[in-house]
C-alpha cells in the first residue's frame, strides 16, 4: 500500500496550495453553523434503528421544568421611555472580581469553571443506561447490543481554558514565520499550567474506564473509515475500537440510504454530524438540545477546517486510509478551549460576536487606520481584545461571519506562540481562504488577513503603522481601561422616567414579593433583573451584562448560560416556533426572551420577579442598549469608508 507518509505529504502541499489560493468571491451566504437552522435534509431520527433502552427515565419527572411558555404573545408595553436620563458614561471602576468571567482568559487567576469538581449540578444524579458499545463494541443488524452503563452522577469539571504555554503548536508549524516579540510586548505571567492540557484530556482513560463513561459530554472526530481523529477525553488510539463502532453505526444507516441524526437513550443524546469524509459525534447528558449540540459539532468542524483547510477532503478522496490524527498534533489546546467556550461563551450559540465598549471617537480612530490598511490590499483587518472586537474592517465590504471571528479568536487565544510573536500562518476561515498575519499587544491583538502568501513583510510594516497610530490616539490605553471598567451593569440601568419621582429603585418597593426575598436575593437590578444578553440581529453582535453578585458563583453562571441555551433552542425551535416572546419561571430564575426582527433579548430575573415589572424592565434595557449602541457595537465598515 502507499503508506500514510505519502498522503500526509500531499496533504501538506495541498494545504499550502489551498492557503495561497485567491479568495473566492466573497462569502458564502449560508451559515451552516447556525444553531437555529437545523438541517433540512431528508433525515430520520434513528432511535428506531438502534434500540436503546433506558432505565431511570422515570426520575426525569423531578427535574426542573419551565412554566408558562407564551408563544406569539402580543408584545407588552413597548413604548420606549420618552425622556431617558443621560446615558451612563463609562461607569466607575468595578472591583476586579466583578469582571465578566468569559473575558478573563488571560488573567492570571483561572476562570471560574476551572474548579476542581463541579458537583453543584444536582440535576445530574440520575443514572442513565444506554445500550451502546463496550470495548468490544458490537454493531448489529438486529436491535440488540451489549449494554453498558453510562453513569452521570459525576459532573466533570469542565475543561479549563488553555493555559498559554501549553501548546507550542504554532511554533513548530513549518509555514509560520515568527519574529521575536516586540520590545513592548510584555511576557505574560505564566499561569500554573503544568497539568494542562494533557491531564485535562485524561489520556490514561479509554472506553473501558469508569471515569471515561461518566464524563458528561464527549466529542469525537473520526474519519469515514473509522479511524479516530480527535477525542475530548482519552487517548485517540486507545479509543480506536470505539471509534470503529461509531463509524459502523453511521455507515449502517447510510447503507440504507438514510442519515442518522441522533440517538436518544434515557438522559444521553448521541448526535452525529457527517461532513464528507469526516464524522463528528457528541455524546452528552447535559440536556442540551439537538440543535444546540449539532451547532457545537459544526463549530468543531469549522475549527478543524480553520487549522487544516478543506484540502483534508482531497486527502481522503485520494486515499481512504488517510490517518488525519497526526495533522492535528499539538492542537489539543485549541479544541479544549473551544469545548470550554460551548459552556461559557454566548457567541457559540448566539452566532454573534461581542465588542469592547469604547467611546465612538476612539473606535473611529482605530477603524480609520485599519481602513487605510484594508485599502492597500488586506482582505480583513481585525483588532480584538480577548474575545471582544475593537474594530473590524474589510476591504471589499465583505463581512466576516461571526462564527469565523469566534473560531479565529479561539485559535489565536489558545495558541501561545501567536500571543508572543508576530506570526504569519495559513488559516482557512471556513468560507474564506486566506493567510493571516497576527500581532498581539498584551491581550490586544491585530489580525490581518490576506490572500498573498508573500505578504508577511508588507503586513509587518502595516502593523507598525497601525500600532503607532493606535498608540498616538491613545486607543490601546482606552482599550485597557474599557476592559477594566466599561462592562454593562444592571445596577446602572437608567430608572424608568415615569416613576422618577419615587425614590429609586421604585420597583422594589412595589414588589409584593420583595419582603419575601432574602437580602441576598434582592441584589440585582430593578424588578429583580439579574442578567441579560441583547443580540442585534442586523449587526450579528451581542452584548451581555456583568453577572451580579447573586450569580458570582461560576457554577451558577454556567447554569445560567445553560438556561439561556435552552431558551434559545426553544425560541428557535423549527417545529413549534419561531416564537416572539417567552416568559418562563422555575426555581432558579424567571427567564424572559423577546425576539423581534431587530434584536433578541434574553433576560434572567430572580425567581419571584413580577411578570409585568419584568417586562417593563426589559423595555428599559432595550432602550438603554439603543442609547449606548454607538459605544457597545461596531458599525459596518462601509460607514467608515470615507
Amino acid at each position: 500500500m502507499n503508506g500514510l507518509y505519502v498522503e500526509e505529504k500531499r496533504s501538506r502541499e495541498g494545504r499550502e496550495t489551498c492557503s495561497q489560493r485567491e479568495p473566492t468571491t466573497g462569502l458564502v451566504p449560508s451559515n451552516p453553523t447556525d444553531g437555529g437552522d437545523p438541517t433540512q435534509q431528508d433525515t430520520i431520527e434513528s432511535n428506531r434503528v438502534h434500540s436503546l433502552q433506558g432505565r431511570g427515565a422515570s426520575e426525569q419527572g423531578r427535574r426542573r421544568r419551565g412554566i408558562g411558555i407564551a408563544s406569539g404573545r402580543p408584545p407588552m408595553d413597548m413604548d420606549p421611555p420618552t425622556n431617558n436620563p443621560s446615558p451612563p458614561g463609562p461607569p466607575d471602576s468595578p472591583p476586579p472580581e466583578k469582571r465578566l468571567a468569559s473575558l478573563s482568559l488571560r488573567t492570571s487567576h483561572l476562570p471560574p469553571d476551572f474548579e476542581i469538581h463541579d458537583d453543584y449540578d444536582d440535576d445530574d444524579d440520575d443514572e442513565g443506561y444506554l445500550t451502546a458499545v463496550s470495548r468490544v463494541g458490537s454493531i448489529s443488524t438486529s436491535a440488540s447490543a451489549s449494554a453498558s452503563a453510562w453513569k452521570d452522577d459525576l459532573e466533570d469539571a469542565d475543561v479549563a481554558p488553555p493555559s498559554p504555554s501549553s501548546s507550542g503548536y504554532a511554533a513548530e508549524r513549518g509555514t509560520s514565520l515568527a519574529s521575536s516579540a516586540a520590545a513592548n510586548d510584555d511576557p505574560q505571567p505564566q499561569p500554573d499550567d503544568d497539568d494542562w492540557p494533557r491531564d485535562k484530556k485524561h489520556l490514561h482513560e479509554d472506553d473501558t474506564s469508569a471515569s471515561w463513561r461518566k464524563r458528561k459530554k464527549h466529542f469525537f472526530i473520526l474519519s469515514n473509515s473509522g479511524k479516530p481523529i480527535y477525542s475530548r477525553y482519552g487517548d485517540e488510539h486507545k479509543l480506536a475500537g470505539f471509534s470503529a463502532t461509531l463509524q459502523a453505526i453511521i455507515s449502517f444507516v447510510e447503507n440504507s440510504g438514510d442519515h442518522i441524526k441522533f440517538v436518544r437513550a434515557a438522559k444521553h443524546q448521541i448526535v452525529f454530524l457527517v461532513k464528507g469524509p469526516i464524522y463528528l459525534v457528541c455524546i452528552s447528558c447535559t440536556e442540551e438540545s439537538y440543535e444546540g449540540l449539532r451547532g457545537q459539532l459544526e463549530l468543531m468542524y469549522g475549527q478543524m477546517l480553520l487549522i487544516l483547510t478543506k484540502s483534508v477532503n482531497r486527502c481522503f478522496e485520494k486515499n481512504p486510509k488517510f490517518d488525519m490524527a497526526p495533522l492535528l498534533g499539538g492542537t489539543d489546546a485549541v479544541f479544549l478551549s473551544l469545548i470550554h467556550a460551548f459552556s461559557w461563551n454566548p457567541a457559540t450559540f448566539l452566532h454573534a460576536y461581542t465588542c469592547l465598549p469604547l467611546a465612538q471617537s476612539t473606535r473611529q480612530a482605530a477603524s480609520a487606520v485599519l481602513q487605510d490598511i484594508a485599502d492597500s490590499g488586506v482582505l480583513f483587518a481585525l483588532l480584538m481584545c480577548e474575545h471582544k472586537v475593537i474594530s473590524l474592517v474589510g476591504a471589499q465590504k465583505a463581512t466576516l461571519h461571526p462564527d469565523d471571528i469566534f473560531l479565529l479568536s479561539n485559535f489565536i487565544l489558545s495558541s501561545e506562540s501567536f500571543r508572543t510573536s508576530e506570526s504569519f500562518s495559513p488559516i482557512c476561515l471556513p468560507r474564506y481562504n486566506s493567510m493571516a498575519f497576527l500581532y498581539a499587544y498584551e491581550n490586544t491583538y491585530l489580525t490581518l488577513l490576506t490572500a498573498r502568501s508573500d505578504a508577511f513583510y508588507d503586513l509587518k510594516d502595516s502593523r507598525s503603522r497601525i500600532q503607532n497610530v493606535l498608540l498616538k490616539a491613545n486607543v490601546l490605553v482606552e482599550v485597557q481601561r474599557s476592559l477594566r471598567e466599561s462592562a454593562l451593569r444592571i445596577e446602572d440601568l437608567p430608572a424608568d422616567p415615569s416613576s422618577q419621582s419615587v425614590s429609586p429603585p421604585p420597583q422594589f418597593s412595589q414588589d409584593l414579593h420583595f419582603q419575601l426575598l432574602s437580602s441576598e436575593m434582592a441584589i440585582g437590578g430593578p424588578a429583580g433583573l439579574w442578567h441579560f444578553i441583547y443580540k442585534s440581529i442586523y449587526l450579528d453582535q451581542y452584548v451581555s451584562s456583568e453577572f451580579p453578585l447573586i450569580i458570582s458563583n461560576p457554577k451558577q453562571q454556567k447554569r445560567l448560560y445553560k438556561a439561556y441555551k435552552k431558551l434559545y433552542a426553544s425560541m428557535h425551535d423549527k417545529a413549534t416556533g419561531p416564537h416572539k416572546t417567552q416568559f418562563r419561571r422555575d426555581e432558579d430564575y424567571v427567564l424572559f426572551c423577546w425576539i423581534t426582527q431587530d434584536f433578541e433579548l434574553y433576560a434572567a430575573f430572580n425567581p419571584l420577579a413580577d411578570k409585568s415589572q419584568a417586562i417593563k424592565v426589559c423595555n428599559r434595557v432595550c432602550q438603554w442598549i439603543r442609547d449606548l449602541e454607538n459605544e457597545i457595537f461596531v458599525y459596518g465598515e462601509s460607514t467608515l469608508s470615507w
Binding site: 500500500m1 507518509y5 454493531i139 459502523a248 497526526p326
Partner: protein
Amino acid sequence: MASRRRMLLKVIILGDSGVGKTSLMNQYVNKKFSNQYKATIGADFLTKEVQIDDRLFTLQIWDTAGQERFQSLGVAFYRGADCCVLVYDVNVTKSFERLNSWREEFLIQASPSDPENFPFVVLGNKIDVDGGNSRTVSEKKAKAWCASKGNIPYFETSAKEGFNVEAAFEYIFLIQLMLEVLEGNSARQAVNARRYGTSDIAS
C-alpha cells in the same frame, strides 16, 4: 511517548462463518480461547497496541461476521483498511475455496488505490483439530493459491493453542515497515516536519 511516531492500522478479518476469526482475534488480543461458538453479529472491534523497536502501532481490528446475511455491511466496513486478513479452516475445503471470493469482494468494495499490491495475509486456522487428521486442505495447496495471488503471506495457525497467531499478526507490522522503507527517507522527513507540536509536548 509522543515523540515516537504512532500509527493506526485498520485490519479487516474476513472468512466464512465458523473458521475462527473471532477466536483468532481473542487469542491475539486477550490471549484467551473458548470452545463455545458464538456467531459474530455485524462486526466486533478490538484494539491492540504493539511496540516494535521505537514504533508504536495501534491495531484497530474489525472482526466481521462470516454469515452471508451481513455481507451488505461490506462497503462501510472495508473502507480505508490498511490490511485484510483472510481466514479459512484447514478442515473445511469449502472455506478455502471461498477465499477467492472474499478477496475479490474486498477489493471491489474497499476499492484500494493499488489493488494489485494491497496487503493481504492468509491464515489456515484450526490445525490442532484431531491432531491434523481431519485436515482437508494441504499446506501446499494453500501456498500455491497464495502465490498465484501475488505472493500473499501464508500462516498456519491454531487459535485454540495460540500457535503462530502472534507471528501472523506481527507480519502486518512487518508489511507496514517494509512499505515505509520502500518509500524512502524523503517522505518520512516530510512527515516529520509536518508533525508540529508533538515533540514539544513530549519534552
